[in-house]
C-alpha cells in the first residue's frame, strides 16, 4: 500500500502546475557553489550581461565584488540601485534598497549573497525574505548561495568542516528556485586560486581558512553541491513529465512524521527527516507530544526553536497531547495517513524499559503495523543532555524539598516521643502516613525524597539496633525493604496521578476558554461588540494587549477594537494583512515592531489582523489556542461582511424596484394624455362624424398634462425650499370657491361651511387655493359618483382649521402618514395620478407653518376627513369692512 503505482499524475499535482503557470510571480535562479571563491558572482554577472544584450531590463540590487577586478569589470553597463544607508548604533551601514527596487520594477534584479542577514532595523531579518518579496512582486531574481548556508545541509557541513555556520537560508527557498546553476570548480583549481589570493575570505576567517579548504572537505562539499543540483534537475524532469503527461513511475505521496521534543537531539532528527523527505519527494510533518510533563523555561525555548526549525524547513507542525508517547504517536500517524515515522535512538534505561514493557522504540515497532519506523542515532556533536528532572531548577521545587524535609523531621520527633509507647512498627505506619500526606501537596521529586528520608530515618532511629543503619533481625530487613518499596511506589503513583490531573485541567481550561470565546463572541449582535468581547477575552487569557483590525469600507486596514496602533505598528499590521503571514515581534519579518501580528485567515482570504503586544513569546499551546481564536474572529468578520453585502444588495434591489415603479408611473401619467392627443388628432384628420368630442378629449388630456407639470414644478419648489408664502388678508370663501371651480365642473356636489370668525384670514391665497384644489381632486377621485364633499372652516388654537370630508372608503390607519409622502398612493386609491397631490398639500401647509392630517370622519359618516391647520390671524369680514 505504501508505494502504489499510479498510471497518471494525480489531479492535485496537475492543479499545482496550473497554479504555478497562472501566477505571474518572478522566476528565481540560484547560482550555487560549494564554498566561497568558486566564482558564483562572476557567473551571475556574466549571465546578466548576456540577458541585457538580449534586451532584458537588468539592475544590480547588491553585488559583493570583494575588489576583484574581473568581477568589477563585469558590473560595467549594468544599472545599479543605490544602496540604502542605515544608521545603526552610531555607524552608517548600507543595505540593499528593497523599496527602491520595487518602485523601479526591473525585469531582473541581481541580489548577491542570499544567506546574508540584514542589518537590524530593516524590514526583514534575512536577505532571502527580500528576495521572496521581489519574486512576489513579479520581478525575476538572480542570486548566489553556498551549500553550507542551506538549512538542511548545515549540520552535515559542520560535521565535515568543523567550522560553525551562522547564516542560513531555509530549504524552501531552494525548492522555490526555478533554476539552479551549479558553479563548479575542481578542488585543485580552487586551491590554486586560493594560493593566488583570488578568494576573498573575510578578515576573521583567514585563520580558519586552511582548515576549511582542505582537499577532503572540498570534495565532500562539492559532492553535496552536485547532489543538490542533481535533485533539482530531477525535480525539473518530473515537472516536465507532469506537464507533458508523460506517464512514469509515479509514486503515491509518502508522508513522513518526525517526533520531536525539547531535546537538542531533535534538531538533528528534523534535519535528517527533511533530507529523506526531499530525496523521496515526500511531504513531512513534525509532531510534539505533550505528555503533560511541565517544561521549564530552557526546555520551552528549545522546543520553540525546534518547532520553528521544522516549520522553516517546510514541515507541517502539530502538537498533540496524550499520556503514552508510542500510542499517541501511532494514533496521530494513522489519523494523518503517515507512512513513515522518524524517532531518535533513545538513551535507554534497561530497568525502566523492562518495567514499561520495552523502550519507546520497542513499543513503537511492536504496534506500528503498516507504518515504517526509522530510528536515527543521536548526533555525536550534540552536547550530552538528559531529560530535565521535572524542572529541578525552579525555586518552587526547592521550597517543596524543604517542606518534605520538615515533614519528615516533624514525624521523626513525634515518633521519638512515642517510640517507647507504641513500638517501631507503628512509627513505620506513621512515616507512611507522612509520605501519603506529602504526596497530596508536593510534586514528584520531593515526594520521592520524603519517601527515602523516612525510610532512612526509620532504619536509623527506630529499628534496633538504634542509631545505626544496620538491621540485625531478618524480618526487620524484609519489613524495611517492603516499607521502602511501598513508600516509593505510593509517592510515584500519586505524583503521576496529579500530573495527569494537571494535564486534564489544562486541556479543560483551554476547552472552556474556547467555548467561552465562541459563545460570547459569536453571539454578539454586532461585529464591533464581538471584536470588543474578543479583545477582552484574549487580553485576560494571555495577559497581553490586543487589537483587532479589519478592512474598512475604504479598503484600508482599520482598528475594529482594542488599543490604537501607532503609524509604524499599523504598517507592520498592513504587511501581515497583505502578505497573509504573521509579522512583527517574535517573527522573522519586521521583528523590530512592538507587537506580533497574526493574519485572520478564512479559507483563501484574510479578513483582518490580530495584533498582540506581549512581554514573552507565546508557548505552543497558547499559540494554538490563539490561532483558534483568530479563526473564530476571522469567520465572524467574514460573516458580518457577507451580511452587509447581502443587505446592501437587498437595498439596491429595493431602490431599483422603487425607481422602476416611479418611472413607470411618471411615464404612464405623461404618455396617457399624449396618446389621447395623438390619437384624437389622427382621427380628426380623417374627417370624423363628431369632431367636437375629439376636441373635448384633447382639451381634457391637455389639462391633465398641465396639471402633472404644475404638480412636478410645485414639488420641486417644495424640495428646494423655494416656497415663500406671501401673507395678505384674503376672503376665505373666495379662495374656496376658486379651488372648487378648478377641481370640478359639477360644483353642486360640494358643500361649503365657513365660520364668520375666520371669513377673513391672513394667508398666501395662491398656496391655499392650490392646497384646497388638490384636496378636492383627491376627494372627488376617491368618492363614489353622486356623493357629496363637505368643506368646513373654523377657528382653532389661535389659527384656522379647514376640514375636507369625502364619502369614499376612508383611509386605513397604516396609510395615514405614508399618504403624504412623494409618489405614494393609497391602497384604495383609484388609478391615475402620480401620488404628488397630497405631498404638495403637506409641503405648502408646512411652508406656512401649518400641518395636515387625515382621520376617519368625525361626524359619524363613512369617509376620510383631511384637516388643515394654519397658524394665521383671522377675523370676520365685517371687521375688515369696518376698519377699511
Amino acid at each position: 500500500m505504501l508505494v502504489s503505482e499510479e498510471p497518471r499524475p494525480d489531479p492535485e499535482s496537475l492543479l499545482e502546475l496550473a497554479n504555478a503557470a497562472e501566477t505571474n510571480r518572478g522566476r528565481l535562479k540560484i547560482f550555487l557553489g560549494m564554498c566561497p571563491g568558486v566564482g558564483k558572482t562572476y557567473a551571475m554577472l556574466l549571465a546578466a550581461q548576456q540577458l541585457q544584450e538580449e534586451g532584458v531590463d537588468v539592475v544590480i540590487g547588491t553585488i559583493e565584488t570583494h575588489g576583484r577586478i574581473e568581477t568589477q569589470a563585469l558590473t560595467a553597463g549594468l544599472a545599479r540601485i543605490p544602496l540604502r544607508k542605515i544608521v545603526h548604533r552610531g555607524s552608517t551601514l548600507s543595505e540593499m534598497d528593497l523599496d527602491a527596487i520595487l518602485a523601479r520594477r526591473p525585469q531582473l534584479v541581481l541580489v548577491d549573497e542570499l544567506a546574508h542577514s540584514n542589518i537590524a532595523g530593516s524590514r526583514h531579518l534575512k536577505r532571502y525574505q527580500n528576495v521572496l518579496e521581489l519574486l512576489e512582486a513579479g520581478i525575476d531574481v538572480f542570486t548566489t548561495l553556498n551549500v553550507q548556508h542551506i538549512e538542511s545541509q548545515r549540520d552535515v557541513v559542520t560535521q565535515i568542516t568543523g567550522a560553525p555556520v551562522h547564516e542560513r537560508v531555509p530549504d524552501s527557498i531552494v525548492d522555490r528556485a526555478d533554476e539552479i546553476e551549479l558553479v563548479d570548480l575542481s578542488p585543485e583549481q580552487l586551491r590554486k586560486r586560493l594560493e593566488e589570493g583570488k578568494v576573498y575570505l573575510g578578515e576573521r576567517a583567514v585563520a580558519a581558512s586552511d582548515n576549511f579548504f582542505r582537499e577532503g572537505n572540498l570534495r565532500a562539499l562539492r559532492e553535496i553541491a552536485l547532489r543538490i543540483t542533481a535533485e533539482q534537475a530531477d525535480k525539473e524532469l518530473r515537472s516536465f513529465m507532469h506537464r507533458r503527461r508523460i506517464s512514469g513511475p509515479w509514486r503515491s505521496r509518502e508522508h513522513l512524521l518526525v517526533a520531536i521534543g525539547p531535546s537538542p537531539y531533535s534538531e538533528h532528527l528534523i534535519r535528517w527527516t527533511r533530507r529523506i523527505a526531499t530525496l523521496s519527494h515526500a511531504t513531512w510533518m513534525a509532531v510534539y507530544i505533550d505528555t503533560g510533563r511541565p517544561l521549564n523555561d530552557q526546555e520551552r525555548t528549545r522546543m520553540e526553536k525546534n518547532l520553528t526549525l521544522a516549520r522553516t524547513l517546510g514541515a507541517e507542525v502539530h502538537a498533540t497531547s496524550g499520556g503514552e508517547v508510542s500510542q499517541t504517536l501511532l494514533r496521530f500517524a494513522r489519523e494523518h495517513n503517515i507512512s513513515q515515522i522518524v524517532v531518535g535512538k533513545p538513551l535507554t534505561n534497561p530497568v525502566l524499559d523492562f518495567l514499561r514493557g520495552g523502550s519507546l522504540v520497542d513499543r513503537l515497532i511492536r504496534r506500528s503495523g503498516e507504518i515504517d519506523i526509522y530510528v536515527v542515532r543521536a548526533e555525536k556533536a550534540a552536547p550530552p543532555w538528559r531529560p530535565d528532572l521535572g524542572g529541578l531548577a525552579e525555586p518552587r521545587l526547592w521550597r517543596e524539598f524543604g517542606q518534605g524535609v520538615l515533614l519528615v523531621l516533624g514525624t521523626t520527633i513525634a515518633g521519638l516521643l512515642l517510640r517507647s509507647a507504641i513500638g517501631y512498627m507503628a512509627v513505620g505506619l506513621l512515616y507512611l502516613l507522612a509520605v501519603l500526606l506529602s504526596s497530596i501537596f508536593l510534586s514528584r521529586w520531593p515526594i520521592l525524597l520524603t519517601a527515602t528520608l523516612t525510610a532512612v530515618a526509620w532504619d536509623f532511629l527506630f529499628i534496633t539496633p538504634y542509631y545505626t543503619f544496620r538491621i540485625s533481625n531478618i524480618h526487620d530487613v524484609i519489613l524495611f525493604g517492603m516499607y521502602f518499596v511501598v513508600a516509593l511506589v505510593l509517592g510515584h503513583l500519586n505524583a503521576r496521578l496529579r500530573q495527569r490531573e494537571q494535564t486534564e485541567r489544562r486541556r479543560e481550561e483551554q476547552a472552556v476558554a474556547l467555548y467561552r470565546f465562541s459563545r460570547d463572541v459569536a453571539v454578539s449582535l454586532s461585529l464591533d461588540a464581538a471584536a470588543r468581547e474578543g479583545v477582552r477575552q484574549i487580553d485576560e487569557l494571555f495577559s497581553v494587549t490586543t487589537t483587532v483590525l479589519a478592512k474598512g469600507d475604504s479598503e484600508k486596514l482599520e482598528t475594529l477594537s482594542g488599543a490604537a496602533l501607532s503609524e509604524r505598528e499599523m504598517a507592520v499590521a498592513s504587511w501581515a494583512f497583505e502578505k497573509k503571514e504573521p509579522a512583527g515581534r517574535f517573527t522573522n519579518t519586521l521583528s523590530q515592531a512592538e507587537g506580533f501580528y497574526l493574519p485572520l485567515h478564512t479559507g483563501h482570504q484574510v479578513a483582518g489582523v490580530l495584533g498582540l503586544r506581549a512581554r514573552a513569546p507565546l508557548t505552543l499551546s497558547e499559540r494554538q489556542l490563539l490561532e483558534t481564536f483568530a479563526t473564530q474572529l476571522a469567520l465572524l468578520i467574514e460573516r458580518e461582511r457577507f451580511r452587509q453585502h447581502a443587505e446592501s444588495a437587498k437595498i439596491a434591489e429595493k431602490s431599483r424596484q422603487l425607481q422602476k415603479t416611479l418611472l413607470d408611473s411618471v411615464s404612464h401619467e405623461f404618455k396617457t394624455p399624449l396618446a389621447v392627443i395623438a390619437t384624437a388628432l389622427e382621427s380628426l384628420r380623417s374627417h370624423p362624424a363628431h369632431p367636437e368630442s375629439l376636441l373635448a378629449e384633447i382639451r381634457i388630456a391637455s389639462e391633465r398634462l398641465q396639471r402633472i407639470v404644475t404638480n412636478l414644478l410645485d414639488i420641486t419648489r417644495i424640495e428646494t425650499g423655494a416656497v415663500l408664502p406671501r401673507l395678505a388678508w384674503c376672503d376665505l370663501r373666495e379662495i374656496v370657491d376658486r379651488a372648487v371651480q378648478r377641481a370640478t365642473e359639477d360644483t353642486t356636489a360640494i358643500q361649503v361651511d365657513i365660520a364668520e370668525a375666520v371669513s377673513a384670514c391672513e394667508v398666501d391665497s395662491g398656496l391655499l387655493e392650490e392646497m384646497l384644489a388638490n384636496l378636492l381632486r383627491n376627494a372627488l377621485q376617491n368618492s363614489p359618483n353622486g356623493s357629496s364633499i363637505f368643506i368646513r372652516a373654523g377657528p382653532k388654537d389661535g389659527g384656522v382649521q379647514i376640514d375636507v370630508c369625502d364619502e369614499g372608503p376612508g383611509i386605513p390607519p397604516e396609510d395615514a402618514t405614508r399618504l403624504f409622502e412623494k409618489f405614494q398612493r393609497g391602497k384604495n386609491a383609484k388609478p391615475g395620478g402620480l401620488g404628488l397631490g397630497l405631498s404638495i398639500v403637506k409641503g405648502f401647509a408646512e411652508a406656512q407653518g401649518g400641518t395636515i392630517a387625515v382621520i376617519h370622519r368625525t361626524d359619524g359618516k363613512l369617509g376620510a376627513q383631511f384637516q388643515i391647520f394654519l397658524p394665521v390671524a383671522s377675523r370676520s369680514m365685517q371687521t375688515i369692512a369696518t376698519t377699511a
Partner: protein
Amino acid sequence: MTNILVIDDEPQIRRLLRVALEAQGCKIHEAATGQDGLIAAASWRPELIILDLGLPDLSGLEVLVRLREWTQTPVLILSVQDAEEDKVRALDQGADDYVTKPFSTQELLARLRVLLRRNHSPEEPVFELDALTIDFSGQTVHVGGKPLSLTATEYALLRELARHAGKIVTHKHLLAAVWGPNATEQSQYLRVYLSHIRKKLAEAGFPAEAIHTETGVGYRLLLE
C-alpha cells in the same frame, strides 16, 4: 362586424379607441378593471382583446395568464411600458402583439387586422406571401417559382416565422421551437441563422427586410 374587448383603466383611451375602431365597423366593449375584463371576455366572447398592462386591480399580465387558461382569442397589449423585458414577458405569456402608447391609430389598426386575419384563416398546408411560397407538407420553399435551398435549421426558423406571419415571434419561442426547450437563452444562434436566411432570400429576389427585427424581443415576418 368584429367584436373587440378593450380592457384599460383610462376612460379617455377607451373613448378614443371606441371612436377609432367603431369607424372601422367594429363593435366595442369596454372594461375598466381586470376583473371586469375577465368577466366580459367570458360572457361576451370577443374576437380580439386589447389589454392595458397597468390595471388598478390585477396586473395586465395576470389577466393575460388567466385568459390563456381557457381561450386562444388574440390579445394585443397596449401599454405605456416600453422596456424590452416587459414586451418579451407579455409575449412569452401568450400575448399576440404589443403596441406602446402613445400609438398611431393606423399602426394599431394594421396590427389588429393581422391578428384578425390569421384568426379567420386556419392553418393551411401552403403559405404564400408575394413571391415567397412555403409548402409545409413538402417542406420546400420557393421564391418566384424557383426553389430556395435552405438547411434544416433555416427552414425550421422560416416556417416558424411564417406560421405566425405578421406577429412578433419572441427569441425564446423561436429557440424552443427549433433547438428544443433547453436552448432558450442562446439568442446568438438566431442572429447567425436569420442573417443566413435573409441573405438567401435577398439573393433569390425576395426583400430581406420582410423579416423585421424587433430589437431585444424577437422577429416578425411582415405581411405588408
